[in-house]
């Protein structure tokens, strides 16, 4: 379990980036941290693996205070995938890149090889094992970066803006993969402002604005409320906007994903059709 207790963080420049954050993350959780640019999302992510230590309050990972242990120690449990893969890729081959973290943690060559193979397979990167990461496309590089973290099997996976620059198909694949991970009992935390992605993936949403948590709850309850969404410079997902204007027909307002919308409308329109046929 990762616990943040009344965490505040001030950068050396004096900027108060986080204030009074209380948050608990445990196995099987799927969270989306959303908020405007500069809301403190990435700063919060860096608190989770000790890259930044709280100025006030306390962050503990499985009971260990992040102030008292090294980042390398925490990195075994908390995998943080940075937004831009260019900030971490450096090896000659994809295989070496994915092995980097494992070697840092001192695994034996046999374990390293096995884990690398498994991870590349799982992410559909096996065919690129001996390719240089720099010859791959942006989307593929992003997957290599993800693989390099996943290979060490962290209990908590933190993804910073995983959908930026990804096309729809790549996002679908990512969504399925995340689903798999947290149903295996891992915690997945995703930092994003991709409302449509969140609407379909349906995580618990933590809404961050100006360094503080301003709302939390299911994607449905948070993303369908104007005052919350506006505060974090987001826009409501299309389904929520649609159902907002259909509420007078007795439909619920808190619909964010297209599949639930379909079921509701099937029922409603199916009903309408029946009444039409009986009347005539």
């Amino acid at each position: 379990m990762i616990r943040l207790e009344r965490v505040s963080f001030r950068y050396p420049s004096g900027l108060l980036a986080l204030h009074d954050i209380d948050l608990t993350i445990q196995g099987g959780d799927f969270l989306a941290i959303m908020g405007e640019n500069g809301a403190g999302k990435t700063t919060l992510a860096k608190q989770l693996n000790g890259l930044l230590k709280p100025s006030e309050g306390r962050v503990t990972v499985d009971g260990e205070d992040t102030r008292k242990v090294s980042v390398a120690h925490l990195a075994r449990k908390v995998g943080l995938v940075f937004q831009n893969p260019d900030h971490l890729l450096f090896s000659e081959t994809v295989k070496d890149e994915v092995a980097f973290g494992l070697k840092n943690f001192g695994f034996t060559p046999e374990v390293v090889e096995k884990q690398v193979g498994r991870t590349l397979e799982a992410l559909g990167l096996a065919e690129y094992a001996d390719t240089s990461p720099f010859l791959l496309s942006g989307g593929e590089r992003k997957r290599v970066a993800l693989a390099s973290i996943l290979a060490t099997e962290p209990d908590y996976l933190i993804l910073d803006e995983p959908t930026i620059g990804q096309d729809y198909q790549q996002k679908e694949r990512l969504r399925n993969f995340i689903l798999q991970l947290y149903s295996q009992g891992k915690a997945v935390v995703m930092i994003t402002h991709d409302v449509e992605f969140v609407a379909e993936a349906n995580p618990k949403v933590i809404l961050l604005s100006k360094g503080g948590i301003v709302g939390q709850g299911s994607a449905e309850s948070v993303l369908s409320r104007d005052e919350m969404v506006n505060r974090a410079s987001l826009v409501k997902p299309q389904m929520s906007r649609l159902f907002g204007s259909l509420a007078r027909f007795g439909l619920p307002r808190d619909v964010v994903d297209v599949h639930r919308a379909r079921l509701l409308l099937e029922e409603k329109l199916g009903g309408v059709k029946e009444t039409v046929t009986t009347n005539s």
Binding site: G35, E36, N37, G38, S137, G138, G139, I164, G165, Q166, D167, Y168, Q169, Q170, K171, E172, H193, D194, V195, E196, A199, N230, A232, S233, L234, V235, P237, Q238, M239, R241, L242, S245, L246, F249, V258, A261, R262, L265, E266, K268, L269, G270, V272, K273, V276
Partner: protein, 288 residues
């Protein structure tokens, strides 16, 4: 109607292969863009959208070397015979990453950068800079350094910098990737203002159709370096919905919902492209 349409971009069998690449980046592109159109250019990653845009402002073949085939004229100029600096008077380009397209240490100096290069008089530059900053709503930022601005402000400044060169067409290549949704809409709105107020032609490259569907009347879809769909946005979404879905294009969620319900036989009519249309159509159905 067709006669009065003035073409600003004409491509005939355009193709390009980067030197050293195995596959052609784009091929067999036939394209005609009229003055004042707002075009959404989309397609899966690696489909050739960015390469096509690079052709439009001459980065291909001036900056990127490779094999060029076919013809491309922008505002009457043959791309292959013009240096990029000359083309920059006709076509403006806003890039994805705002950080890497602002050069100067203040906003005002940055907006002035293009016209300075073109060698206009000081009075003319001042006039252009002021106009461009006014239209893009960046006048209040003029003394600030680009790195002090938010992402959305940076993109507006980039737009102003391009505008100060008085181009007749502006290409925006995934201009909102790094922005939060609200700011993204704001930047798209700014681009639309330019089309409505100045009659500029706008081409936006974007994965997220829902963001642009409100403004664009035409969509061009690419796949494997070719244009696979081109036409009125509403018609393409309506008639070629399955093709788009198959390509993994992120169609607006309301369009998806509509097409699923239509497949169920629960409703008829054109696939809506944005929420307002869908809402009024559905309300209409349910009040009866």
């Amino acid at each position: 109607m067709a006669e009065s349409r003035r073409e600003i971009v004409v491509a005939k069998n355009l193709g390009f292969k980067y030197s050293g690449a195995k596959k052609t980046a784009i091929q067999g592109i036939d394209l005609s863009i009229g003055v004042g159109e707002f075009i959404l250019l989309t397609g899966p990653s690696g489909c050739g959208k960015t390469s096509l845009c690079r052709c439009l402002n001459g980065l291909i073949p001036n900056f990127y070397q490779g094999e060029w085939t076919g013809q491309l004229h922008v505002d009457g100029l043959d791309i292959t015979t013009q240096p990029t600096s000359e083309l920059s008077r006709k076509i403006g380009y806003v890039f994805q990453n705002p950080e890497n397209q602002l050069f100067a240490l203040t906003v005002e100096k940055d907006v002035a950068f293009g016209p300075e290069n073109l060698g206009y008089s000081r009075d003319e530059i001042r006039k252009r800079v002021n106009e461009a900053m006014k239209i893009t709503g960046t006048l209040a930022l003029k003394e600030l350094a680009p790195y002090e601005l938010s992402g959305g402000q940076q993109q507006r400044v980039a737009l102003a910098g391009v505008l100060a060169m008085k181009p007749s067409i502006i290409v925006l290549d995934e201009p909102t990737s790094f922005l939060d949704p609200h700011t993204a809409e704001d930047v798209m709105g700014a681009a639309d203002d330019l089309r409505r107020e100045l009659g500029l032609t706008i081409v936006v490259v974007e994965h997220r159709l829902d963001l642009v569907a409100r403004y664009a009347e035409r969509i061009i879809v690419m796949d494997g370096g070719r244009i696979v769909a081109d036409g009125n946005l509403e018609e393409v979404l309506d008639e070629q919905f399955d093709t788009l879905e198959g390509l993994g294009v992120g169609v607006p969620r309301v369009s998806l919902l509509w097409s699923m319900l239509r497949r169920d036989g629960l409703l008829k009519g054109k696939v809506p492209t944005h929420v307002e249309d869908a809402a009024s159509a559905l309300s209409g159905m349910m009040t009866h």
